[in-house]
């Protein structure tokens, strides 16, 4: 079987703020034999516009996405939220397109398309996992991220209490309803701290930015690390906090 041609959809947030996550996806997928491309014309899936009520802007970004990612065997995003936007909402905005249907959140792509759960990763830390709402309820990734994490050597996985409760990010919700968002964040952080984990892992940098921002403000010492970075980490090339 020839190597699948994968378009990496980095998402605007990860491209801009978390390049290490995008590089981790690249490294991981190449390690697993994929031919990965990053089409330079990509920008944003339009979710923030759509969710805030700006449908027209979102529609034009959906159309842009369909053009930019045409022709790949699969498109992989390190985000359940943006992946959900593309697969579930873009068709409604733009009409159906292969680019939408072939878009996967990272854990789905690994488990469902490549059929692997052990990606040969090594990450000797105590980790707890927060399933983000859109990966869970829009895409239905289920326990795929956990299957992947359980196969990581050295990793001590601890269960997060009330894991499936929203962290309170919600895009513009965090600003428009800042007090409620902060209350939800507070409860999520309490659950994270109760696990005694050193690392909080999730498949969405947006939620990690929110929870991590709170954890850092409280100087808890708990780090937030995207799933891709844990899975990319090996004994030879271990994960290192980006400066």
């Amino acid at each position: 079987m020839p190597a699948p041609r994968v378009g990496l959809f980095a998402t605007c947030l990860t491209d801009t703020f978390y390049p290490s996550t995008a590089r981790a996806v690249l490294r991981l997928l190449e390690r697993l034999g994929c031919d990965v491309d990053f089409p330079m014309d990509q920008t944003c899936c339009g979710q923030m516009h759509y969710n805030t009520g700006y449908r027209e802007e979102a529609r034009s970004l959906a159309s842009k996405y369909a053009g930019v990612f045409a022709g790949y065997d699969a498109i992989v995003a390190p985000s359940g939220s943006c992946g959900g936007m593309v697969r579930e909402i873009h068709p409604e905005l733009h009409g159906s397109s292969d680019a939408f249907a072939r878009t996967y959140e990272l854990s789905e792509f690994l488990v469902d398309v490549l059929g692997v759960t052990d990606v040969g990763a090594y990450f000797p830390h105590r980790v707890t996992y927060h399933p983000t709402c859109h990966s869970l309820r829009m895409l239905g990734v289920g326990d795929k991220p956990l299957q992947l994490l359980r196969s990581v050597r050295g990793l001590d996985l601890v269960e997060l209490p009330e894991a499936e409760t929203c962290c309170g990010f919600g895009g513009t919700f965090a600003v428009k309803n800042a007090d409620t968002s902060t209350a939800m964040l507070g409860d999520k952080m309490r659950c994270v701290l109760n696990t005694g984990a050193e690392v909080l892992c999730a498949g969405d940098n947006s939620c990690l930015m929110h929870i991590g921002g709170g954890l850092s403000r409280l100087r808890t010492g708990v780090r937030t690390v995207h799933l891709a970075e844990i899975l990319a980490s090996t004994e030879e090339e271990p994960w290192a906090a980006t400066p």
Binding site: S20, N51, G53, F173, A178, T180
Partner: protein, 473 residues
């Protein structure tokens, strides 16, 4: 149509009301305890049925059929009820419905009516209207009684006093009842309510109820309850007046086999609620000998005209969406400023008000992080997040040009072109370029509302695309 009493006059916009509610630590404890108890129980009750998903899909389809043929089914139930000795009335809005009930109560020569808990009558402010007309409405559902005696507002569609814990309830009862409760044990509180209402039930001449379902082809009305106050009201008085939203229909008797499974497990997490009453018109020698059915529009036809929003009319008022909602759990129901709080309230109230220039109503669709927990549990599969986003678009349109819309348009323009986007990334960061003074405060990037509780990520030395161009390009 004047202002719709479905939202309470003078209520602050949601973020403001939420801020006040969040500061009430007792309220938050009460809500957390109640919602967490019911969540786990609901999950268990639902897991017991192997065909739950099939029932949900059937429930959704039956309700969609009702909505698509609402005129036909309404005419059908009207004919069936009339044929069985009932009298059907139509009310366009709250005012008309209240007038009808007031007139009927007066005709029956009573100055007091007993009431079964009903969202429809809460929505139209019936108690206040009757009061103004010199007729006392006695709420008989325990939670409604707590709200009524406490001079309070409801905060949940199933358990309007969910924001009160047992000791608060005991205080209210001690203050308001002739016979005080023995303790704050739920059993004693229930006993106190029983004694308080007993004579009223036995002597009542007129009762007012809502309806959970109306069966179009037989004219049968269904009320689902727990305490027996419903049975008291539906059985003992001479006159029964039922106010039913026009969307509460099911086409046939058989359709109830779906809803009598979906509703109890979703609402009180029971295999079956203690009592369900079904009656059709008037039965000689059994129950009220005069039966009036008031069919209520009050904004429902406006919601029906909205192709995305109309799915909210499938709602069977089970309250599962409230119980799982992380926002509701923290703010409670009163922050929504409506008898319909929580996720369903956030999509239903603005549609019934039907005016996105109403700031309070327009703030409700934003009262959600779009986590989707509501959609996941809704027994009739209302895609609440979809409707929330749809109503947000209407709110944006109604507002016209605002700093937010200008910012969003600018951001859209940048995102539409990778070069513009990359330039924006390079000038410091995309975010700061766009919101130098935090003026576009609705963006999820640095802004004072963000930084009040969270640190901002440090922008990296280079974006991923810059790295890619250097190393792979």
């Amino acid at each position: 149509m004047g202002s719709n009493p479905v939202t309470w006059l003078g209520s602050p916009v949601f973020p403001k009301a939420a801020k006040a509610a969040l500061a009430d630590t007792q309220l938050r404890r009460n809500l957390r305890k109640a919602t967490h108890t019911i969540r786990d129980k609901r999950a268990k009750a639902v897991a017991e049925l192997p065909d739950w998903e099939q029932l949900r899909r059937a429930g959704e389809a039956i309700k969609d059929d009702v909505l698509s043929n609402l005129d036909t089914y309404l005419e059908r139930i009207e004919a069936a009820v009339t044929a069985r000795g009932g009298i059907v009335h139509w009310a366009l809005d709250a005012h008309e419905a209240n007038e009808i009930v007031l007139r009927l109560a007066r005709e029956a020569g009573t100055d007091e009516v007993v009431k079964v808990k009903s969202m429809a009558t809460a929505e139209i402010g019936l108690n206040e209207a009757l009061e103004a007309g010199g007729i006392r409405a006695v709420e008989t559902d325990l939670a409604e009684l707590i709200v009524q005696l406490g001079n309070d507002r409801p905060s949940h569609i199933l358990v309007p006093a969910i924001h009160r814990n047992r000791s608060e309830i005991k205080e209210i009862f001690q203050r308001e009842m002739a016979e005080k409760p023995a303790s704050d044990e739920p059993r004693d509180l229930a006993e106190a309510a029983r004694r308080h209402l007993r004579r009223k039930f036995l002597l009542a001449r007129v009762a007012v109820s809502g309806a959970n379902f109306g069966v179009a082809d037989t004219g049968s009305i269904v009320v689902v309850e727990s305490e027996g106050n419903g049975r008291m009201c539906l059985t003992l008085p001479e006159v029964l007046i039922t106010v039913m939203g026009i969307e509460k229909l099911v086409p046939t008797w058989r359709d109830l086999e779906v809803f009598l499974q979906l509703l109890p497990r979703s609402s009180t997490a029971e295999r079956m609620n203690p009592y369900t009453s079904v009656w059709t018109g008037v039965t000689p020698g059994d129950g009220p000998q005069q039966f009036h059915l008031v069919l209520l529009d009050n904004g429902r036809t406006d919601a029906l005209a909205d192709r995305v929003g109309r799915q909210a009319l499938r709602c069977i008022r089970c309250s599962a969406c409230l119980n799982v909602c992380p926002v509701y759990e923290r703010t409670g129901g009163q922050a929504y400023g409506s008898v319909y709080p929580g996720p369903i309230g956030a999509i239903l109230s603005p549609q019934l008000v039907n005016d996105m220039h109403d700031k309070q109503a327009a703030s409700l669709p934003y009262a959600s992080s779009l986590c989707g927990a509501c959609y996941e549990v809704c027994p009739v599969r209302i895609n609440i997040p979809e409707v929330l986003v749809h109503l947000r678009a209407e709110a944006v349109e109604a507002k016209g040009r605002t700093p937010e819309s200008v910012g969003m348009a600018a951001l859209g323009w940048i995102f539409n072109d990778a070069r513009r986007y990359e330039n924006a990334q390079k000038v410091g960061s995309l975010a700061r370029h766009l919101a130098p003074s935090g003026r576009i405060s609705s963006l999820p990037w640095p802004g004072s509302k963000w930084t009040s509780a969270r640190d901002v990520p440090t922008p990296p030395a280079e974006s991923f695309r810059t790295w890619w161009r250097k190393n792979r390009g």
